[in-house]
């Protein structure tokens, strides 16, 4: 495997990480909430897809039609029914504790319902098909699709935030919830919409991951960690930073794994720590991680 090939594989992997990170960035940007159950919710999506595919033999990618609206609704209800209450007052503890508790609940619920067996979603020929770019470089169809989807989702989010009334509502409520109520914005609803959209993106991410690799109920936290690292490496407050962060993380992991199979994930962690140590605002960030 040439180094160019490794980097390309890393970029494709990074697209997936960026997709995971998009929802995290959105929720933090709008309501300063870090959802520790983020990764586990993506696993819920993957397992729901699995259940559907077990019952109805379709290509897993079709389950997006069910899973995305489902997690959209779950996100809205979760935020409105539970998480909004943790945001009252300036206490940093409740949001962390509640989302962490949620993470534990989801992991173990999935464990009980689906067992700890390794699962996979079979997308058929598209999974293994590849495009030959040169005589030494081949790019898988599916990883490419993932990257394209990630960029499309991030671009869509960026457009939503900067051009639509909903996006303006997000930014206004994030700036000043009380003043936002004066212009007619119900922050409970605005926050819930942000969570709904965030979880919808997480559903896509979870599904794509389920096709790409095998998964178990306890793999959620690892996804959360990668998403988080992508956000920090890229820099808070910037969706394109999140994309950049994801790509950097993917490449770092790919390079690390090339050196030694056990070092892939560690290499990513080290890059994250280096960014934290030497450039805490991230590569494209605009604010201190607060």
């Amino acid at each position: 495997m040439t180094w160019v090939n490794v980097v390309v594989q890393g970029l494709l992997l990074g697209g997936l990480y960026a997709l995971f990170a998009a929802g995290l960035t959105l929720m933090f940007g709008v309501m300063r909430l870090v959802n520790l159950a983020h990764g586990d919710l993506s696993m819920v999506a993957a397992f729901v897809a699995l259940a559907i595919v077990d019952a109805v033999p379709v290509n897993p990618l079709w389950t997006l039609l069910v899973v995305v609206p489902l997690l959209f609704g779950v996100g809205y209800l979760l935020q409105r029914g539970l998480l909004n209450f943790t945001l009252r007052g300036n206490d940093p503890l409740p949001p962390v504790l509640v989302t962490f508790g949620l993470s534990i609940i989801l992991q173990n619920l999935l464990l009980e319902v689906f067992s700890a067996d390794s699962q996979g979603l079979d997308a058929g020929r598209i999974e293994n098909a590849s495009i030959r770019l040169s005589d030494r470089l081949a790019v898988g169809w599916f990883p490419l699709l993932t990257l394209v989807t990630a960029v499309a989702v991030l671009a869509g989010l960026q457009l939503l935030i900067s051009r639509t009334q909903l996006g303006r509502s997000f930014r206004a409520t994030s700036d000043d919830p009380e003043a936002a109520s004066l212009v007619g914005l119900d922050h409970r609803h605005v926050f819930a919409m942000a969570a709904a959209i965030a979880l919808a993106t997480v559903a896509v991410a979870g599904l794509f991951l389920g096709v790409r690799t095998t998964f178990t109920p306890s793999v959620g936290p690892t996804r959360l960690i990668f998403a988080f690292e992508a956000v920090i490496i890229g820099g808070l407050g910037s969706l394109w930073g999140t994309l950049a962060g994801g790509l950097v993380l993917g490449v770092a992991q790919a390079l690390g794994a090339q050196l030694s199979p056990g070092w892939g994930v560690l290499a990513g962690h080290l890059v994250f720590l280096a960014v934290l140590a030497f450039r805490p605002t991230g590569l494209l960030g605009r604010q201190v991680p607060a």
Binding site: R168, E178, A179, A180, S181, L182, V183, G184, L185, D186
Partner: protein, 247 residues
């Protein structure tokens, strides 16, 4: 009566800022609420807007009680407030601030183009983020944002605070056009001159109570000063130190 405030008491936690305040505003009127720091003027406006967590008494708008109506729904009814300290959205541009003001859109003449015509100083700064505006520009933007919902009742809280006199005058010069378009205005002011010049009727608050009310043209300087500082007439002089900042 468009707005009827009936024996309202309002609290910040255990601290009582308003004691049995009553006030009426007819449609089309401009009413000024004046008083010293800590008199309760802003609290009164906040209570009408629904921002006070604990308040007793009734606030009725167009005959309907606003009890239980949350703040974000009051805009839809036709009540808009320009809060103390302006509080425009710093990360939104001028144009975006205005657009977000129209979330609860009501029919009327105010939209981005007409608001920018009212405040030409903002027109060539459409794409500038709110955080980069001067105090006066932010005040104009805050008023414009409130106008975007075409309110029937506009509440202006301390528009002159922290602004140069020239800027304050220019802002007040737009008031006739706002009321001319049909809005009823209640304005809170520390600048008595400006308040009396623009208002039909005046209420003067002292330590959370109405100390004086009447038509602006009918009240004498002595009456106003007396009510403002709490000298003579009701309650005698009060030498106890007042708390800083408007309640």
């Amino acid at each position: 009566m468009l707005l009827e405030v009936d024996r309202v008491a309002s609290f910040y936690g255990d601290f009582q800022a308003l004691f049995e305040v009553s006030l009426q505003v007819a449609e089309g009127e401009t009413v000024a609420v004046i008083g010293a720091n800590g008199a309760g003027k802003s609290t009164l406006l906040r209570t009408v807007a629904g921002l006070q967590e604990r308040a007793t008494g009734t606030v009725a708008f167009d005959g309907r009680s606003l009890d239980g109506v949350p703040t974000h729904l009051r805009l839809g009814l036709g009540i808009a407030m320009v809060p103390e300290g302006r509080r425009i959205f710093p990360s939104l541009t001028v144009e975006e601030n205005l657009k977000v003001g129209a979330v609860r859109d009501r029919p009327g003449r105010w939209e981005v183009a007409s608001v920018l015509a009212l405040f030409p100083a903002l027109a060539d700064k459409r794409d500038r983020p709110g955080s980069l505006l001067s105090g006066g520009e932010q005040q104009m933007l805050a008023i414009g944002r409130a106008l975007m919902a075409n309110p029937r009742l506009l509440l202006l809280d301390e528009v002159s605070l922290g602004l140069a006199p020239l800027v304050v005058r220019r802002i007040y010069e737009t008031l006739p056009e706002i009321t001319g378009a049909g809005a009823t205005v209640v304005l809170v002011e520390q600048d008595i001159g400006q308040a009396l010049a623009g208002a039909d009727r005046v209420y003067c608050l002292l330590e959370g109570r109405v100390a004086l009310q009447g038509r602006a043209a009918d009240l004498t300087r002595e009456q106003i000063t007396g009510a403002y500082f709490g000298l003579g007439a009701s309650g005698g002089s009060s030498l106890a130190p007042r708390s800083e900042g408007d309640a």
